[in-house]
Amino acid sequence: MEIMTNDNWLLTVGTFLPLVGVLVMLFIPKAEEQLLKTVAVITAGATLAVGILTLFRFDYGQAEKLQFFVDVTWIEVIRSNYTIGLDGISLPLYFLSMVVTFLVIIYTWDNMPDAGNPKSFLILMLVLQVGMAGTFVAQDLILFFVFFEVVLLPMYFMIGVWGGEHRQYASLKFFLYTMFGSAFMLVAFLALFFQTGAESFSFMHLVSAGGLISNEVQVWIFAGMFLGFAVKVPMFPFHTWLPDAHTQAPTQGSVILAAILLKLGTYGFVRIAIPMLPEGARAWAPVIAILAVIGIIYGALGCLAQTDMKRLIAFSSVAHMGFVMLGISTLTTLGINAALFGMVAHGLITGMLFFVAGSVKHRYHTLEISRLSGMLKQMPRMGWILGFAAMASLGLPGLAGFWGEFPAILAAYSPGFGLNVTLFRTLMVIAAVGTVLAAAYLLWLYQRTAFGEPSPEFSGQTPHPVGAGVNADHHADHHDEIRDVTPIEWIAWTPFLVAIVVFGVYPQLMFGVMDPAVSELVARLGESLNP
């Protein structure tokens, strides 16, 4: 892996800039809510500006190289350095994290969760952003691990303090599950370090030295990493924290969780587990693929059984991440490209769905699907946005979701490196059935919530003198209560909607960035696996 050290301040600033905002906000009294929100928006905006600058300075012709590379001694004794860099694989996710955080903070402007206290809420969100961005730029295992874990506490508090009714249970479950995975992951990291001669934790060193470890040991080390990343993704048997966490988290938490946090796990597979342990990856690929497809079907069936809109979207995440993992498990350029695309697409689409769910909850104070109906009549714009996001989520060609799922399924037709073709083709068929189920649960959701007449419960039961003559008043009244999309929501959502269309119509925009890096990754795998 070659490196480029141009503009090497860019990533450090982009990663840690939110902390400056945190520092400023610490000295602003809690009561100054508008000022606090302004500072948070400015900070996130400035961070995003650095992100945009990064987009411009990035050399797309050499997307397979690590750019903006920095390597400074950090903890000398344990041979861990502050090594950061960005290539085509991490750039989209790094930038996505900045966009999402910025938009979520804007959304918070007049959608503060009920528990109040925007000061702590926004501070936690900015800290979260540091952890997320840091994970995507880290090029050293220890640094990666630190950032990977930094996101834990803010998210724990975000769910636990500002979440729904069962927030305490959900937050602890989220925390312990992730902690469990990362404890084993850390042991695996250390084992990898010692097995490669205890020289360095840097990705570059480990990628070149990891392949030399004996097969059996690679399989064991991969198992440890698998636990850590699979919990985060989450993959089938480890997914049970996700519906609880998503359902209980405040809207902002759900969006960030869906859009970025889940990707830390899949990114870990692509960036760390597979390139560093090629033999381990080959041995585990069938297992991953099987679990991924179980996740697809299980998630879809789970969706069909849900009565709560947010929980349904949460289960759909399990299914979508199944497609991502299926793509990764093929170990092909096509599959991994599809997985990376699917990560971003899922982030945008499911983030959007959670936004809508949050706004619906804000207006109706319920997400019980059976109590919602006629959204298209009552607030047509919101209804259309929900429909649009649902279509994107079920993988309609022309929208972003399609390019994550279809190539992943396609890639399973011919998996790489001597993986069992029969197995993968069987899985491919089952995964394709999963897309049909996805259409079923999303369209059914849409039909139940958006079509039909608005439920009488929300369309005029307000305490009013009963009488035929006030019917018109009724109408005006509920419009007052149940507002359509607000300006703040438009600002926060438009970029999501635009991106979903743009990437759907012109996927090459992102494939072009990722492909060189992915090709090189697969080529290096080839050197280890087919010498």
Binding site: F157, L176, V187
Partner: protein, 509 residues
């Protein structure tokens, strides 16, 4: 015969030359001795209204004792040996002396208000505390069974009394008596083991013992000796199954004393264990290693599982400190294995330092909050974030650090432990590391439960008036919080002392 005998004694007296004493090397101990007398005498002549001055004076003595430690470290050439290499001042002992003095200083800050407001005897308390710290400081340099034993008793006996300092409270009395009885029993077991070691090797000097023991050819008595010595020390570090005194003692004793026992006194036990295992018992690895392996695995698991069930914060911290002890034991298990030797000392010392910061910090919060709530229940922390956000954030830092979440100090401590253990690289080491990994998750559950109260629960009695934190506790919190965070972000600061290759060299001489 008698005449001849006494003549030879006289002849020996004539041959005896006074050992050369390196006054500079002994300066930390000497400062403490002077300080003890100073506090004792000034206390006699001081009116009750001015007793508060004792705390300040004690704090100053600890800081004064710190000065020679620093100068010695700065000069820092070779190790300074006295009494035929039985009392050694080297890098290893200097770091540990610094840790003990720093912890003692923070403990004085934590004790001050508690003692003043509780109407306890103050001067005597500080005298005892200084005696105990003197024992700890001596322990770091002791390289001889007798010296270790003397230091151990010097640090333990005052602690027995301190545990019972709330003398009209039956639970405090129970704490003192329980600690005393089991402590004395442990000392006896330890001494019994030491006598076997001396009897079979003919020396009390650790390095001589190490040279006399032959691996694979241990006498039955020597095996017994090793088991007794380790068992006796296991009491001091409250390792399972020798931990039963700890929860009751910790709960009954005044909270600053609990902090003292769970941090300083425990660390001293580890120092003794480390010196003995490294220098004397290294050849007996075939006995030491399995025993420590079992102790470590049991200690962290049982401590954690018991901590899960506690509803009292001090009891929970007591069990948590038991389980943290298990983690500190982990690197000692691999002391004689492969290339792990060098990093063992570093892992233990760094852990002890960071553990001192975070655990003292947690106890400081408990003291600060209990001043208002008058309760030791975990539920009494409910709503803390609402009415005392500063304390809540600090508690979050300490709890998260104890749970081992980066980028806080506790993480780097745990990381070092895992790294050292895995460096040994055999199956036993991997299994131990996995047990440790599972335990970090169990531990996270109960630390998070405290945070859940702090952040998410309402105040139990609806009382949300702000908490006034005395300035001395503020200072303690500042020191511990800065230490916890700084060592997490820039662990290089302390890991560097620990280029302990030269330390092990000095130790082994």
């Amino acid at each position: 015969m008698i005449f001849a005998g006494s003549q030879s004694v006289i002849a020996q007296i004539n041959q005896w030359v006074a050992p050369t004493i390196d006054w500079h090397a002994l300066a930390p101990e000497l400062v403490l001795i002077v300080g003890i007398n100073l506090v004792l005498f000034i206390d006699l002549s001081l009116g009750a209204a001015k007793k508060w001055a004792m705390a300040t004076l004690t704090g100053l003595v600890f800081l004064a004792a710190f000065i020679p430690v620093v100068t010695l470290a700065v000069i820092g050439d070779a190790s300074r040996e006295m009494f035929d290499g039985r009392y050694v001042v080297d890098g290893y002992s200097l770091i540990l002396k610094a840790i003990f003095l720093l912890a003692a200083y923070v403990l004085v800050l934590m004790s001050q208000n508690e003692l003043e407001e509780g109407g306890y005897y103050q001067g005597e308390f500080y005298v005892l505390m200084m005696c105990s710290v003197l024992g700890m400081v001596m322990m770091t340099s002791a390289r001889d069974l007798i010296a270790i034993f003397v230091a151990l008793e010097l640090l333990s006996i005052p602690a027995y009394m301190m545990a019972a300092w709330r003398k009209r409270d039956s639970r405090s009395n129970e704490a003192g008596v329980k600690y005393y009885l089991l402590g004395v029993f442990a000392s006896a077991v330890l001494l019994y083991g030491m006598s076997f070691l001396y009897g079979t090797t003919g020396s009390t000097k650790l390095t001589d013992i190490g040279a006399s023991l032959v691996d694979g050819d241990l006498l039955g008595l020597q095996v017994l000796a090793v088991v007794f010595v380790l068992g006796g020390l296991a009491f001091k570090i409250s390792a399972v199954p020798f931990h039963s005194w700890a929860p009751d003692t910790y709960e009954g004793a005044p909270t600053p004393v609990t902090a003292f026992l769970s941090v300083a006194s425990k660390a001293a036990g580890f120092v003794a264990l480390m010196s003995i295992v490294m220098l004397a018992l290294a050849p007996a690895n075939s006995v030491v290693r399995p025993m420590l392996w079992v102790l470590a695995a049991l200690t962290m698991t049982v401590g954690n599982v018991m901590a899960l069930r506690q509803t009292n914060i001090v009891r929970m911290l007591a069990y948590s400190s038991v389980s943290q002890g298990g983690f500190i034991l982990m690197p000692l298990v691999v002391i004689g294995t492969g290339n792990a030797g060098d990093s063992v000392l570093r892992a233990v010392i760094v852990y002890l330092l960071i553990y001192a910061f975070m655990n003292l910090g947690a106890f400081s919060i408990v003291i600060a909050v209990a001043r208002r709530t008058r309760s030791g229940e975990i539920t009494s922390f409910g709503g803390l974030f609402g009415y005392a956000p500063g304390l809540a954030v600090l508690m979050t830092i300490f709890m998260a650090s104890l749970a081992g979440i980066p980028p806080l100090g506790g993480w780097i401590a745990k990381f070092n432990v895992f790294k050292t253990v895995l460096d040994a690289g055999d199956t036993a080491a991997y299994v131990l590391a996995l047990i440790g990994a599972v335990n970090t998750v169990i531990a996270a559950a109960y630390y998070m439960r405290v945070l859940r109260q702090v952040w998410m629960a309402p105040a139990p009695d609806g009382d949300v008036s702000p908490i006034k934190v005395p300035s001395s506790i503020q200072a303690a919190l500042a020191i511990t919080a800065v230490g916890t965070v700084l060592l997490g972000v820039l662990p290089g600061l302390v890991l560097r002392f620990g280029d302990i290759t030269d330390l092990t060299g000095a130790l082994a001489r």
